[in-house]
């Protein structure tokens, strides 16, 4: 028996109906046109940054006020324009110890009274020491400005530096530094800075725990008396307050602070290293290799700042930049690879940092050097430059989106006396950068002759046999010996 495969009329209607249903279903599944591709952005909104208002007190303390009406918190930063680089040569660490001793007792308040006063106004206090300046960051509920200023005034005018508290802070500093001796990134950065800043005051920022025992109360008192002066300080206040009220209140509490002629020491400028130097620090049993590359560049006030910011973005600012894309995404050598720029008053440092798989350390090192060389020698496609600029402009507001970040940015502007242009014209300054400007500048600095610090287990030296010369340092940054290509250990 055979069946004819001819559809009856009713079957035909049914299948036609099914066909129609199916195509209807398909057309529902077909998506709206606008879903197919990303929408275009609207024009960038007009926007002005908050104004910084300045007032100078009679004792020459500079006050900067930024009004933020929307939040019931005040951020207050006292900047002392002296940092670790001003520690006497035989007393590295004294700037840090002095700053950290300020909240540890005054003629009327003990260390725990000060803690109690600060927490009672919902506040907290942080102390940060940089090479060129030291910062006391204090945030609290806005209704307590008077209380906060009173505690601050006590700390800067009448500290007593009690001996038992000095011992406590010294002990804490010692353990903090000692515990970092197994942190490969900390080690790499510290020893790299010691080499880059050899014979320069900035070398002092890379002090290690061994120097802490050399510091005593007399050193603290003398450092304090020389530098903790209103004419060597700036105060930044952000919150729902105006310049007039702020000036009146600040002056009420801080005008008894006496000024004094300062021992000015100009930090000398520094030249980039002109010869590639590869160094190694043994960190037994480290699972990976940590690579830090660095060289000296210009200071933050240089006109080269903006093209360099774009250059940094192209080479390693984020995970869309060249280093990350090549070393991690396409080659799989590294867990991460980024670059950054650090600025000090007299110079800056360009850094590349990467965490690399041990087996491929040799190849990774060659690749990093190749990236740095390429950016100094080959033209940069303008599409990459535009991409970097769009990132930088879009990301800028996110660097000031908390009151603390805003206050940090303003403190930097105040401490380095950058002027309002640096801040207000950021977008315009980035917009005008071209590929040629970046290339010209990249050639100008010796990015391809950096100091490279590798931290890892000494076994990885076997994977670095192709390197001409490696200087072996210990964790304190003291050169131990040098090995050359072909040496057998």
């Amino acid at each position: 028996m055979s069946q004819k495969k001819i559809l009856s009329y009713s079957q035909y209607v049914v299948s036609l109906f099914i066909f129609m249903l199916l195509s209807l279903a398909l057309s529902i599944r077909a998506q709206e046109r606008f879903r197919r591709s990303p929408p275009y952005p609207e024009p960038y909104p007009e926007f002005s940054l908050p104004t910084i208002e300045i007032h100078s007190l009679t004792n020459e303390l500079d006050l900067a006020v930024v009004r933020r009406e929307d939040h019931p918190i005040i951020s207050m930063r006292l900047i002392i324009l002296t940092g670790e680089s001003s520690s006497p040569d035989d007393l590295p660490g004294i700037a840090t110890l002095t700053a950290r001793m300020l909240p540890k007792g005054t003629t009327t308040l003990s260390a725990s009274d000060i803690e109690e006063r600060i927490e009672s106004i919902g506040g907290n206090l942080a102390v940060d020491i940089f090479p060129d300046y030291s910062v006391f960051t204090f945030s609290f509920l806005e209704e307590y400005l008077d209380e906060a200023l009173m505690v601050l005034a006590e700390m800067v005018i009448r500290p007593t530096f009690p001996r038992n508290e000095i011992a406590n802070v010294q002990r804490t500093m010692f353990y903090e530094l000692a515990s970092q001796n197994t942190d490969p990134e900390f080690l790499a950065r510290r020893v790299l800075f010691r080499i880059l800043f050899e014979n320069h005051p900035y070398k002092k920022i890379a002090f290690n725990q061994g120097v802490i025992k050399n510091l005593n109360r007399r050193n603290i008192v003398s450092f304090f008396s020389d530098y903790y002066r209103p004419n060597n300080a700036k105060l930044v206040l952000i919150g729902n307050l105006n310049l007039e009220t702020a000036s009146r209140k600040v002056s009420r509490y801080l005008s008894p602070w006496e000024k004094k002629d300062l021992k000015y020491s100009v930090v000398p400028s520094l030249n980039p290293k002109e010869k590639l130097k590869i160094c190694f620090i043994n960190l037994p049993q480290a699972k990976d290799a940590t690579v830090y590359l660095g060289n000296i560049i210009f200071s933050i006030t240089s006109p080269d700042y903006f093209p360099f910011v774009v250059l940094n973005q192209v080479i390693g600012g984020t995970s869309n930049s060249r280093l990350f894309m090549h070393l991690r995404e396409s080659k799989g050598y590294a867990y991460y690879a980024f670059s950054e720029i650090k600025f000090f008053e007299s110079c800056g440092v360009f850094l590349v940092k990467a965490k690399v798989r041990i087996e491929v350390i040799g190849k990774a090192l060659a690749e990093i050097l190749e990236e740095v060389k390429s950016i100094t020698q080959d033209p940069i496609p303008s599409q990459e430059i535009e991409q970097a600029k769009s990132y930088l402009i879009g990301n800028f507001p996110l660097n000031i989106d908390t009151i603390d970040k805003l206050s940090q940015k303003i403190s930097e502007i105040q401490a380095f006396e950058l002027g309002s242009n640096h801040w207000e014209k950021y977008k315009e300054n980035i917009m005008r950068i071209t590929s040629e400007m970046v290339s010209r500048m990249a050639q100008h600095y010796s990015l391809d002759t950096p100091v490279i610090m590798i931290v890892g287990d000494r076994e990885i030296l076997d994977n670095l046999k192709e390197v001409e010369e490696i200087s072996i340092y210990n964790a304190d940054g003291v050169l131990q010996y040098t090995i050359s290509k072909g040496d057998t250990e």
Partner: protein, 443 residues
């Protein structure tokens, strides 16, 4: 008469529809102004204008977390969070991330016991891009054997890395099992390695289609925005995404009582021993919760808190102190975590902890100390919505917790009006003999 009555009802219901449906309701009394509307498909949208910076934050929050996982499928919610970056119909693998990063934006995602949040902050002229990305993965996520397998492997690897990095992680999970004794609440959000291995593509598809629906989500947008324009954009990208079926209720079972429990666990990789103390306390939605939070600040928050001063500064029996109140959906626990130098300090530290708790039971907290604790609390409350991105997260979280956002208006005053008597009463009620002590020992 009846007709007239019906007509009135129709008018009124029409009006409410109009109010809830498309009209934007504005509220200016919360800690900061916001407005909200709900799309026909159930997607709830909360907006907050803030012109302090030219940025916009978008939070897409789904009401789903580890408590919605079936037994044996732990880690599924977290897996799906990760899968959301693996591409959808019009967005390639990991493209979501690169789109946001290329324009200078930042993004992140988080899965907890009862919610999954995706958040991004971008220049405000790029809002449409974010809505395009979020709607595409809500509408048409790519789920297939290869990307599920890839995520499973990376999650297992991540779990292993976290275990290696934190020698106390497993003891803290075990502590959670003791403190939240129920299948729903006791498993970690990260899941277990064997459960993750067992997750199938079908599990993932089912989970996605049950929970990643407009009617199970809140879209919160804060920043440099124009409300009316945003509403049009949101409608364009989300209105045609079909409503999902009503979400199955999480298998919420009551917690068992914990009784008086003392146990110990060995953390083989840890350098220092320590212990946990835990109490089950009032639910976050009860009136007893407010004094308990203030108690948390009195005991644990800041360097002048009672336990810090006692254990770290005065007795010096402990080297680290942590803990606080932890909420898992409707349940709350009070945790105290102490790390000690050696075994000799264990007994002394535990006695000190209980003696401080007992003091709170018998002696009212001095007014000034209560004021201090409330001020520290107030500061951290304000910090919850300090930035544009915080605001978007705050609104999303609050609207997941309670349908009516207006109830939050009185939240801060409720904390600030806690009296020393409230503290005394609630500490006596909840800090009783039903508590867990888990000793962490080292090899």
């Amino acid at each position: 008469m009846i007709k007239k009555f019906l007509l009135l009802i129709l008018i009124f219901s029409g009006m409410t529809l109009w109010l809830n449906g498309s009209g934007v309701q504005t509220n200016t009394e919360l800690p900061f102004p916001f407005s909200e509307f709900t799309l026909r498909n159930g997607l709830r949208v909360i907006l907050s204008e803030d012109y302090s910076l030219p940025i916009v934050s978008v939070v897409m929050a789904y009401k789903v977390g580890s408590i919605h996982e079936q037994p044996g499928k732990s880690g599924l919610a977290h897996l799906l969070e990760n899968l959301m970056f693996q591409g959808s119909r019009n967005v390639g693998q990991m493209q979501h991330i690169s789109f946001i990063q290329k324009i200078g934006g930042i993004l992140n995602a988080v899965t907890t016991e009862d919610r999954t949040l995706f958040y991004q902050t971008v220049p405000s002229n790029q809002l449409a891009l974010v809505l395009w990305l979020e709607s595409d993965r809500m509408n048409s996520l790519n789920i297939n054997a290869s990307n599920v397998e890839k995520i499973k492997n990376s999650l297992i690897e991540e779990l292993q890395i976290r275990k290696d990095a934190d020698p106390y992680l497993e003891s803290s999970w075990y502590f959670d099992q003791l403190l939240f004794p129920s299948l729903t609440y006791s498993h970690p959000v990260l899941g277990t390695i064997s459960d993750i291995r067992d997750i199938t593509v079908k599990d993932v598809i089912d989970f996605y289609s049950s929970f990643y629906t407009p009617n199970n989500a809140v879209l919160s947008i804060a920043g440099h925005i124009n409300k009316n324009k945003v509403q049009q954009l949101v409608e364009r990208y989300f209105l045609t995404i079909p409503r999902g079926s009503d979400t199955p209720p999480s298998s919420s079972e009551d917690l068992e009582e914990i009784g008086n429990t003392v146990q110990s666990i060995i953390s083989p990789l840890a350098t220092y021993p320590g212990f946990f103390v835990g109490y089950q306390i009032a639910s976050p939605y009860s009136k007893d919760y407010y004094p308990l939070v203030i108690t948390e600040y009195i005991l644990l928050k800041g360097q002048t808190s009672r336990l810090y001063k006692r254990l770290i500064e005065k007795d010096r029996t402990a080297i680290f102190l942590g803990g606080g109140i932890e909420n898992k959906a409707d349940y709350s626990a009070f945790k105290i975590y102490v790390r000690i130098n050696n075994e000799i300090m264990r007994d002394r530290s535990q006695k000190a902890v209980f003696s401080e708790i007992n003091k709170l039971k018998t002696t009212p907290v001095p007014k000034r100390e209560l004021e201090k604790s409330k001020n520290i609390f107030k500061m951290s409350y304000f910090r919850q919505y300090a930035t544009i991105s915080d605001k978007a997260i705050f609104l999303a979280e609050k609207s997941l917790e309670r349908d009516n956002l207006h109830v939050w208006q009185n939240e801060l005053p409720r904390y600030l009006s806690v009296t020393e008597i409230d503290v005394l009463r609630t500490v006596n009620k909840y800090f009783n003999d039903d508590r867990i002590i888990l000793d962490i020992k080292i090899k």
